[in-house]
Protein backbone atom coordinates (compact mmCIF):
# COMPACT_ATOMS: atom_id res chain seq x y z
CA UNK A 1 0.00 0.00 0.00
CA UNK A 2 2.88 2.36 0.82
CA UNK A 3 4.17 2.35 -2.75
CA UNK A 4 1.23 4.66 -3.58
CA UNK A 5 3.10 7.24 -1.49
CA UNK A 6 6.46 6.66 -3.18
CA UNK A 7 5.99 9.23 -6.01
CA UNK A 8 5.06 11.89 -3.42
CA UNK A 9 8.18 11.15 -1.38
CA UNK A 10 10.33 11.21 -4.52
CA UNK A 11 8.99 14.64 -5.49
CA UNK A 12 9.43 15.91 -1.92
CA UNK A 13 13.05 14.75 -1.54
CA UNK A 14 13.88 16.25 -4.95
CA UNK A 15 13.33 19.69 -3.39
CA UNK A 16 14.27 18.81 0.19
CA UNK A 17 17.13 16.27 -0.01
CA UNK A 18 18.15 14.64 3.27
CA UNK A 19 14.99 15.70 5.13
CA UNK A 20 13.18 13.17 7.31
CA UNK A 21 10.16 11.83 5.42
CA UNK A 22 8.76 9.83 8.36
CA UNK A 23 6.12 12.51 9.24
CA UNK A 24 4.79 12.32 5.65
CA UNK A 25 4.49 8.54 5.86
CA UNK A 26 2.74 8.90 9.23
CA UNK A 27 0.33 11.49 7.77
CA UNK A 28 -0.41 9.13 4.89
CA UNK A 29 -1.16 6.24 7.26
CA UNK A 30 -3.49 8.45 9.29
CA UNK A 31 -5.29 9.68 6.14
CA UNK A 32 -5.58 6.14 4.74
CA UNK A 33 -7.12 4.96 8.01
CA UNK A 34 -9.48 7.93 8.15
CA UNK A 35 -10.72 7.60 4.55
CA UNK A 36 -10.90 3.81 4.61
CA UNK A 37 -14.17 2.75 2.98
CA UNK A 38 -14.80 6.20 1.48
CA UNK A 39 -14.97 6.68 -2.28
CA UNK A 40 -14.76 9.52 -4.78
CA UNK A 41 -17.44 10.17 -7.42
CA UNK A 42 -15.15 8.34 -9.82
CA UNK A 43 -15.44 5.21 -7.68
CA UNK A 44 -11.77 5.43 -6.66
CA UNK A 45 -10.80 5.02 -3.00
CA UNK A 46 -10.87 8.47 -1.39
CA UNK A 47 -7.20 8.30 -0.37
CA UNK A 48 -6.25 8.64 -4.05
CA UNK A 49 -7.48 12.23 -3.90
CA UNK A 50 -5.41 12.96 -0.75
CA UNK A 51 -2.36 11.47 -2.49
CA UNK A 52 -2.96 13.46 -5.67
CA UNK A 53 -3.23 16.73 -3.73
CA UNK A 54 -0.02 15.94 -1.82
CA UNK A 55 1.65 15.09 -5.14
CA UNK A 56 0.68 18.43 -6.70
CA UNK A 57 2.05 20.25 -3.64
CA UNK A 58 5.28 18.22 -3.55
CA UNK A 59 5.79 18.91 -7.26
CA UNK A 60 5.46 22.62 -6.47
CA UNK A 61 8.30 22.25 -3.95
CA UNK A 62 6.10 22.45 -0.84
CA UNK A 63 7.71 21.85 2.56
CA UNK A 64 6.98 18.87 4.78
CA UNK A 65 4.14 20.46 6.74
CA UNK A 66 2.31 21.45 3.57
CA UNK A 67 2.73 18.01 1.97
CA UNK A 68 1.32 16.51 5.20
CA UNK A 69 -1.56 19.02 5.13
CA UNK A 70 -2.26 17.92 1.54
CA UNK A 71 -2.56 14.31 2.66
CA UNK A 72 -4.75 15.26 5.63
CA UNK A 73 -6.82 18.11 4.19
CA UNK A 74 -10.14 16.22 4.23
CA UNK A 75 -9.80 14.94 7.78
CA UNK A 76 -12.81 16.03 9.83
CA UNK A 77 -11.91 18.69 12.47
CA UNK A 78 -12.56 16.35 15.40
CA UNK A 79 -9.95 13.84 14.18
CA UNK A 80 -7.12 16.35 13.92
CA UNK A 81 -6.00 16.22 17.57
CA UNK A 82 -2.87 14.14 16.79
CA UNK A 83 -1.53 16.61 14.21
CA UNK A 84 1.42 18.93 14.62
CA UNK A 85 0.59 22.60 15.23
CA UNK A 86 1.82 23.70 11.80
CA UNK A 87 -0.31 21.14 9.95
CA UNK A 88 -3.35 21.78 12.14
CA UNK A 89 -3.00 25.56 11.57
CA UNK A 90 -2.92 25.10 7.78
CA UNK A 91 -6.04 22.91 7.90
CA UNK A 92 -7.82 25.42 10.14
CA UNK A 93 -6.78 28.13 7.67
CA UNK A 94 -8.35 26.13 4.84
CA UNK A 95 -11.60 25.83 6.82
CA UNK A 96 -11.59 29.61 7.37
CA UNK A 97 -10.84 30.27 3.71
CA UNK A 98 -13.70 28.03 2.58
CA UNK A 99 -16.25 29.55 4.97
CA UNK A 100 -15.18 33.22 5.11
CA UNK A 101 -12.97 33.74 2.04
CA UNK A 102 -9.70 35.65 1.84
CA UNK A 103 -7.23 36.56 3.31
CA UNK A 104 -5.21 33.44 4.00
CA UNK A 105 -1.55 32.47 4.30
CA UNK A 106 0.33 31.29 1.21
CA UNK A 107 0.43 27.57 2.25
CA UNK A 108 -3.35 27.61 2.79
CA UNK A 109 -3.90 29.11 -0.66
CA UNK A 110 -1.58 26.58 -2.30
CA UNK A 111 -3.46 23.78 -0.56
CA UNK A 112 -6.76 25.16 -1.83
CA UNK A 113 -5.37 25.36 -5.37
CA UNK A 114 -3.99 21.82 -5.27
CA UNK A 115 -7.31 20.50 -3.96
CA UNK A 116 -9.23 22.28 -6.73
CA UNK A 117 -6.75 21.19 -9.38
CA UNK A 118 -7.31 17.52 -8.65
CA UNK A 119 -11.07 18.07 -8.36
CA UNK A 120 -11.01 19.70 -11.79
CA UNK A 121 -8.95 16.85 -13.24
CA UNK A 122 -11.69 14.46 -12.13
CA UNK A 123 -14.64 16.78 -12.82
CA UNK A 124 -16.09 14.41 -15.46
CA UNK A 125 -17.46 12.26 -12.65
CA UNK A 126 -19.69 14.85 -11.01
CA UNK A 127 -23.11 16.06 -12.13
CA UNK A 128 -23.10 18.43 -15.14
CA UNK A 129 -24.68 21.39 -13.32
CA UNK A 130 -22.02 21.13 -10.66
CA UNK A 131 -19.33 20.79 -13.34
CA UNK A 132 -20.33 24.11 -14.87
CA UNK A 133 -20.66 25.81 -11.47
CA UNK A 134 -17.24 24.64 -10.29
CA UNK A 135 -15.59 25.51 -13.61
CA UNK A 136 -17.03 29.02 -13.57
CA UNK A 137 -15.93 29.54 -9.98
CA UNK A 138 -12.46 28.24 -10.86
CA UNK A 139 -12.10 30.65 -13.77
CA UNK A 140 -13.35 33.62 -11.73
CA UNK A 141 -11.47 33.17 -8.48
CA UNK A 142 -8.92 30.36 -8.45
CA UNK A 143 -7.13 31.04 -11.73
CA UNK A 144 -6.43 34.69 -10.75
CA UNK A 145 -5.32 33.44 -7.32
CA UNK A 146 -2.88 30.98 -8.91
CA UNK A 147 -1.51 33.74 -11.16
CA UNK A 148 -1.10 35.98 -8.11
CA UNK A 149 0.84 33.30 -6.24
CA UNK A 150 3.10 32.77 -9.23
CA UNK A 151 2.18 29.13 -9.82
CA UNK A 152 1.70 29.54 -13.56
CA UNK A 153 1.51 25.84 -14.38
CA UNK A 154 -1.41 25.39 -11.97
CA UNK A 155 -3.11 28.53 -13.31
CA UNK A 156 -2.82 27.34 -16.91
CA UNK A 157 -4.08 23.82 -16.18
CA UNK A 158 -7.00 25.10 -14.11
CA UNK A 159 -7.97 27.52 -16.90
CA UNK A 160 -7.79 24.83 -19.60
CA UNK A 161 -9.77 22.29 -17.57
CA UNK A 162 -12.48 24.84 -16.70
CA UNK A 163 -12.81 26.17 -20.23
CA UNK A 164 -12.98 22.65 -21.69
CA UNK A 165 -15.65 21.65 -19.18
CA UNK A 166 -17.81 24.69 -19.95
CA UNK A 167 -17.37 24.18 -23.70
CA UNK A 168 -18.23 20.47 -23.43
CA UNK A 169 -21.40 21.22 -21.52
CA UNK A 170 -23.68 21.15 -24.57
CA UNK A 171 -27.44 20.52 -24.30
CA UNK A 172 -26.81 16.99 -25.55
CA UNK A 173 -24.41 16.11 -22.76
CA UNK A 174 -26.93 17.55 -20.30
CA UNK A 175 -29.77 15.41 -21.72
CA UNK A 176 -27.54 12.40 -21.38
CA UNK A 177 -26.95 13.23 -17.75
CA UNK A 178 -30.68 13.50 -17.07
CA UNK A 179 -31.35 10.18 -18.80
CA UNK A 180 -28.71 8.55 -16.63
CA UNK A 181 -30.50 9.82 -13.53
CA UNK A 182 -33.23 7.28 -14.26
CA UNK A 183 -30.74 4.54 -13.40
CA UNK A 184 -30.48 3.35 -9.81
CA UNK A 185 -28.03 5.34 -7.70
CA UNK A 186 -24.44 4.15 -7.79
CA UNK A 187 -24.51 3.30 -11.50
CA UNK A 188 -25.19 6.80 -12.79
CA UNK A 189 -21.68 8.22 -12.70
CA UNK A 190 -20.17 5.30 -14.54
CA UNK A 191 -22.65 5.28 -17.44
CA UNK A 192 -22.68 9.04 -17.71
CA UNK A 193 -18.91 9.20 -18.11
CA UNK A 194 -18.85 6.23 -20.46
CA UNK A 195 -21.53 7.71 -22.73
CA UNK A 196 -20.24 11.27 -22.60
CA UNK A 197 -16.87 9.92 -23.74
CA UNK A 198 -18.37 7.90 -26.59
CA UNK A 199 -20.61 10.81 -27.58
CA UNK A 200 -17.57 13.07 -27.82
CA UNK A 201 -15.95 10.75 -30.37
CA UNK A 202 -18.88 10.94 -32.81
CA UNK A 203 -18.19 13.28 -35.73
CA UNK A 204 -21.64 14.39 -36.90
CA UNK A 205 -24.73 15.91 -35.30
CA UNK A 206 -26.82 13.16 -36.78
CA UNK A 207 -24.64 10.38 -35.36
CA UNK A 208 -24.75 12.04 -31.95
CA UNK A 209 -28.54 12.35 -32.03
CA UNK A 210 -28.89 8.69 -32.99
CA UNK A 211 -26.48 7.65 -30.26
CA UNK A 212 -28.47 9.59 -27.69
CA UNK A 213 -31.73 7.99 -28.76
CA UNK A 214 -30.14 4.55 -28.58
CA UNK A 215 -28.80 5.19 -25.12
CA UNK A 216 -32.22 6.41 -23.98
CA UNK A 217 -33.78 3.09 -24.92
CA UNK A 218 -30.89 1.28 -23.24
CA UNK A 219 -31.43 2.88 -19.83
CA UNK A 220 -34.31 0.68 -18.59
CA UNK A 221 -32.58 -2.48 -19.80
CA UNK A 222 -29.38 -1.56 -18.04
CA UNK A 223 -31.32 -0.90 -14.85
CA UNK A 224 -32.80 -4.37 -15.35
CA UNK A 225 -29.40 -5.99 -15.87
CA UNK A 226 -28.36 -4.72 -12.47
CA UNK A 227 -31.63 -5.55 -10.72
CA UNK A 228 -33.26 -8.57 -12.39
CA UNK A 229 -36.14 -8.54 -9.89
CA UNK A 230 -37.70 -5.61 -11.71
CA UNK A 231 -38.10 -7.40 -15.03
CA UNK A 232 -41.82 -6.79 -15.67
CA UNK A 233 -41.94 -3.24 -14.43
CA UNK A 234 -38.86 -2.52 -16.51
CA UNK A 235 -40.47 -3.97 -19.63
CA UNK A 236 -43.52 -1.81 -19.08
CA UNK A 237 -41.35 1.24 -18.57
CA UNK A 238 -39.28 0.45 -21.62
CA UNK A 239 -42.37 0.12 -23.77
CA UNK A 240 -43.64 3.45 -22.54
CA UNK A 241 -40.27 5.12 -23.09
CA UNK A 242 -40.14 3.75 -26.63
CA UNK A 243 -43.69 4.79 -27.40
CA UNK A 244 -43.07 8.13 -25.78
CA UNK A 245 -39.93 8.82 -27.79
CA UNK A 246 -41.75 7.91 -30.99
CA UNK A 247 -44.78 10.06 -30.21
CA UNK A 248 -42.63 12.98 -29.18
CA UNK A 249 -40.80 12.85 -32.48
CA UNK A 250 -43.76 12.14 -34.74
CA UNK A 251 -46.81 14.02 -33.60
CA UNK A 252 -48.24 17.13 -32.10
CA UNK A 253 -48.35 18.63 -28.63
CA UNK A 254 -51.38 16.80 -27.15
CA UNK A 255 -49.96 13.38 -28.07
CA UNK A 256 -46.56 14.38 -26.74
CA UNK A 257 -48.16 15.48 -23.47
CA UNK A 258 -49.86 12.10 -23.07
CA UNK A 259 -46.55 10.34 -23.75
CA UNK A 260 -44.86 12.61 -21.26
CA UNK A 261 -47.36 11.72 -18.57
CA UNK A 262 -46.90 8.01 -19.36
CA UNK A 263 -43.16 8.33 -19.12
CA UNK A 264 -43.33 10.13 -15.82
CA UNK A 265 -45.63 7.42 -14.49
CA UNK A 266 -43.37 4.65 -15.76
CA UNK A 267 -40.35 6.26 -14.14
CA UNK A 268 -42.24 6.67 -10.89
CA UNK A 269 -43.26 3.01 -10.91
CA UNK A 270 -39.84 1.73 -11.91
CA UNK A 271 -37.88 3.70 -9.34
CA UNK A 272 -40.50 3.93 -6.65
CA UNK A 273 -37.92 4.29 -3.89
CA UNK A 274 -36.51 7.37 -5.59
CA UNK A 275 -39.13 10.09 -5.48
CA UNK A 276 -37.20 12.48 -7.70
CA UNK A 277 -37.15 10.15 -10.73
CA UNK A 278 -40.32 11.58 -12.25
CA UNK A 279 -39.12 15.16 -12.09
CA UNK A 280 -35.78 14.16 -13.54
CA UNK A 281 -37.55 12.47 -16.41
CA UNK A 282 -39.54 15.63 -17.03
CA UNK A 283 -36.32 17.66 -17.05
CA UNK A 284 -34.86 15.21 -19.51
CA UNK A 285 -37.79 15.47 -21.90
CA UNK A 286 -37.68 19.25 -21.68
CA UNK A 287 -34.02 19.34 -22.59
CA UNK A 288 -34.63 16.80 -25.36
CA UNK A 289 -37.31 18.98 -26.96
CA UNK A 290 -35.13 22.11 -26.94
Amino acid sequence: MDDLLAPVLTAYTATWPGEDTEPITAAYRLAARHHHGQFRHSGEPYIRHSLAVAQILADLGADRDLVCAGLLHDLSPDSRSALSTAVADTLAGLDRLESHGLPAARPVLLLKLADRLHNMRTIAYVRPEKQVRKSTETLRTLVPLAVGLGVDGVAAELATLSEDTIRRSTPRVRSLATAVWLLPKGMRGRWQVEWTAELATLPTRRARARFLLGVLTAVPRIALAHRPGLRWTARLAWGLVGAGALTTVLTSWPAATVALAGLALAAAVLFAEDDRAASRLRDFLDSWRR
Binding site: R168, V193, E198, T201, G214, A218
Partner: protein
Protein backbone atom coordinates in the same frame (compact mmCIF):
# COMPACT_ATOMS: atom_id res chain seq x y z
CA UNK B 1 -26.22 -17.31 -17.06
CA UNK B 2 -27.07 -14.24 -19.18
CA UNK B 3 -29.79 -14.57 -21.77
CA UNK B 4 -28.27 -15.80 -25.05
CA UNK B 5 -30.06 -13.61 -27.54
CA UNK B 6 -28.78 -13.55 -31.10
CA UNK B 7 -27.12 -10.16 -30.50
CA UNK B 8 -25.49 -11.44 -27.32
CA UNK B 9 -24.04 -14.36 -29.28
CA UNK B 10 -22.69 -12.00 -31.93
CA UNK B 11 -21.04 -9.82 -29.28
CA UNK B 12 -19.45 -12.88 -27.64
CA UNK B 13 -18.16 -14.14 -30.98
CA UNK B 14 -16.45 -10.82 -31.66
CA UNK B 15 -14.93 -10.73 -28.16
CA UNK B 16 -13.72 -14.34 -28.43
CA UNK B 17 -11.87 -13.56 -31.64
CA UNK B 18 -9.27 -11.58 -29.65
CA UNK B 19 -9.90 -12.43 -25.99
CA UNK B 20 -7.06 -10.25 -24.64
CA UNK B 21 -8.11 -7.14 -26.47
CA UNK B 22 -10.07 -4.42 -24.67
CA UNK B 23 -12.87 -2.82 -26.62
CA UNK B 24 -15.21 0.07 -25.91
CA UNK B 25 -18.99 0.07 -26.41
CA UNK B 26 -19.23 2.07 -29.59
CA UNK B 27 -16.43 0.03 -31.18
CA UNK B 28 -18.29 -3.21 -30.40
CA UNK B 29 -21.52 -1.72 -31.68
CA UNK B 30 -19.79 -1.06 -35.04
CA UNK B 31 -17.97 -4.41 -35.16
CA UNK B 32 -21.05 -6.46 -34.33
CA UNK B 33 -23.48 -4.31 -36.28
CA UNK B 34 -25.80 -3.85 -33.29
CA UNK B 35 -27.42 -0.53 -32.31
CA UNK B 36 -25.95 1.38 -29.36
CA UNK B 37 -29.25 1.01 -27.50
CA UNK B 38 -28.72 -2.75 -27.60
CA UNK B 39 -24.99 -3.03 -27.02
CA UNK B 40 -24.82 -1.37 -23.59
CA UNK B 41 -27.51 -3.52 -21.92
CA UNK B 42 -25.76 -6.62 -23.31
CA UNK B 43 -22.44 -5.44 -21.91
CA UNK B 44 -24.09 -4.65 -18.56
CA UNK B 45 -25.65 -8.12 -18.40
CA UNK B 46 -22.44 -9.93 -19.37
CA UNK B 47 -20.44 -7.91 -16.87
CA UNK B 48 -23.01 -8.59 -14.15
CA UNK B 49 -22.65 -12.31 -14.92
CA UNK B 50 -18.86 -12.04 -14.58
CA UNK B 51 -18.21 -12.90 -18.23
CA UNK B 52 -16.72 -9.46 -18.88
CA UNK B 53 -14.65 -7.03 -16.86
CA UNK B 54 -14.45 -3.34 -17.61
CA UNK B 55 -12.14 -0.51 -16.62
CA UNK B 56 -11.58 3.12 -17.51
CA UNK B 57 -9.27 4.10 -20.30
CA UNK B 58 -5.89 5.30 -18.92
CA UNK B 59 -5.78 9.08 -18.36
CA UNK B 60 -2.91 9.94 -20.72
CA UNK B 61 -4.89 8.95 -23.77
CA UNK B 62 -7.91 11.16 -23.09
CA UNK B 63 -6.54 14.15 -21.21
CA UNK B 64 -5.16 15.59 -24.42
CA UNK B 65 -8.44 15.39 -26.34
CA UNK B 66 -10.48 16.96 -23.56
CA UNK B 67 -13.12 14.32 -23.05
CA UNK B 68 -13.84 11.86 -20.24
CA UNK B 69 -12.42 8.33 -20.34
CA UNK B 70 -14.15 5.56 -22.23
CA UNK B 71 -15.03 2.27 -20.56
CA UNK B 72 -13.03 -0.66 -21.91
CA UNK B 73 -14.44 -4.20 -21.86
CA UNK B 74 -12.52 -7.47 -21.93
CA UNK B 75 -13.77 -11.05 -21.72
CA UNK B 76 -12.66 -12.98 -18.59
CA UNK B 77 -11.13 -16.47 -18.68
CA UNK B 78 -14.27 -17.92 -17.06
CA UNK B 79 -16.40 -15.85 -19.38
CA UNK B 80 -14.55 -17.11 -22.44
CA UNK B 81 -15.00 -20.75 -21.39
CA UNK B 82 -18.67 -20.21 -20.57
CA UNK B 83 -19.23 -18.31 -23.81
CA UNK B 84 -17.64 -21.03 -25.96
CA UNK B 85 -19.88 -23.62 -24.29
CA UNK B 86 -23.00 -21.48 -24.58
CA UNK B 87 -22.33 -20.69 -28.24
CA UNK B 88 -21.78 -24.39 -29.00
CA UNK B 89 -25.04 -25.26 -27.23
CA UNK B 90 -27.06 -22.69 -29.11
CA UNK B 91 -25.44 -23.71 -32.41
CA UNK B 92 -26.33 -27.37 -31.77
CA UNK B 93 -29.89 -26.37 -30.91
CA UNK B 94 -30.11 -24.26 -34.03
CA UNK B 95 -28.83 -27.15 -36.20
CA UNK B 96 -31.30 -29.60 -34.65
CA UNK B 97 -34.23 -27.29 -35.30
CA UNK B 98 -33.06 -26.77 -38.84
CA UNK B 99 -32.74 -30.52 -39.57
CA UNK B 100 -36.10 -31.24 -37.98
CA UNK B 101 -37.54 -28.43 -40.06
CA UNK B 102 -36.14 -29.99 -43.22
CA UNK B 103 -37.44 -33.41 -42.24
CA UNK B 104 -40.83 -31.98 -41.43
CA UNK B 105 -41.07 -30.21 -44.80
Amino acid sequence: MPRMTLQTQLVLEVLLREPDRQRYGLELSDLVGVATGTIYPILARLEQAGWLVSEWEVPTSYDSVGRPPRRLYRITADGAAAAVAALARSRARHKRTWILGVEGA
